[in-house]
Symmetry: C2
Subunit: 194 residues, 2 copies
């Protein structure tokens, strides 16, 4: 029986292709045979590298969760105002969206298909992230860099707005990435500043 090493390059290759197909076809509509076909291989061969389909989704979500958690810790450790921290996070979100779109999309929209036990863990991680973000907004109101707003509503609005970039990513009618990023940041920060 194969060993299923935790970090082979082949495994990562499969994960990336799976992310791409999960995004374009949806998790439930993407069969192992389709993933295999796009890698020029038979479906059964995939099981030499991964334990199963659900692992693919779980791993993609976990990797994304880790990336965001690391950035959050870095931002929290930097001595800046709440508004500056917020801008840093927003810019990071946008960058991830541009450079790792498929994985970002999966962890945002396909996590619902996670198997129940890991789904709970994933949601807990995400709630933790949002809690940290809410804390940053509250800090911004205390240090005077932000107007008094409802912190939870603010986080929800900010994250949702960024999520919407997906539509632009799929169909950028004439707007280049730089303009898009600057215009959206400008608009969102305007909603926050006193």
């Amino acid at each position: 029986m194969a060993k299923l090493q935790n970090d082979s390059p082949r495994r990562q290759q499969i994960l990336l292709k799976a992310a791409e197909l999960f995004r374009t076809h949806g998790y439930a509509n993407t069969g192992m045979r389709l993933i295999a076909e796009h890698l020029g291989v038979e479906a059964a061969s995939l099981y030499n590298h991964i334990p199963g389909k659900s692992f693919l989704l779980k791993e993609i979500c976990a990797q994304m969760g880790q990336a965001f958690e690391m950035q959050m810790q870095e931002v929290l450790a930097t001595p800046t105002t709440g508004l500056q921290k917020t801008e840093a996070l927003l810019r990071f979100h946008i960058q991830i969206m541009l450079t790792r779109f498929d994985e970002w999309y999966i962890s945002n929209w396909q996590w619902q298909h996670l198997v129940d036990d890991y789904k709970q863990e994933f949601l807990q991680i995400r709630r933790g992230y949002e809690k940290n973000f809410t804390g940053i907004i509250e800090a911004g109101m205390s240090d005077g860099s932000m107007a008094p707003i409802h912190p939870q509503v603010a986080v929800l609005t900010l994250l949702s707005a960024i999520r919407g970039l997906e539509f632009w990513q799929r169909n950028p009618h004439g707007l280049d990435a730089g303009t898009m990023e600057e215009e959206m940041i400008k608009m969102l920060l305007k909603a926050l500043t006193p």
Copy 2:
């Protein structure tokens, strides 16, 4: 053979239950047998009322599209500033979200599973809606009720922010609907006003 009337109450009942299940389980993961079970009936019996599974999705999306299109026409016909029109549309979006959550969710997130020919029509309708919305923003800048912003970015940001209410809808930690609506409207309009 059954006649498949266009507007029987039973058909509408099936549509609503399907919308609920499509939302909670996803379109691809919701089988005809599951829908039937939730209606206390066998799967085959559904075919006395509807032509097939894909019809359910198509009909839900079409009904939502119609609702938004009607509201857009009404707003356009009212002689108000661009900012007031925008507020009216935002409030309508929120109201639909609160009163017809399942259907709203489907037409927002599950339209990707539409069969190809109707998918094109659906996307065209949506692009038309967004184009109208963009025009309203531009009008707002002309009539002085709004700050100079990138109209397409503004529409994307506004619609995405509202879409995010889904997360609150699913898990409203202590915020009542009224507060949520007012706080979000306040925040979004602040981003728009001069």
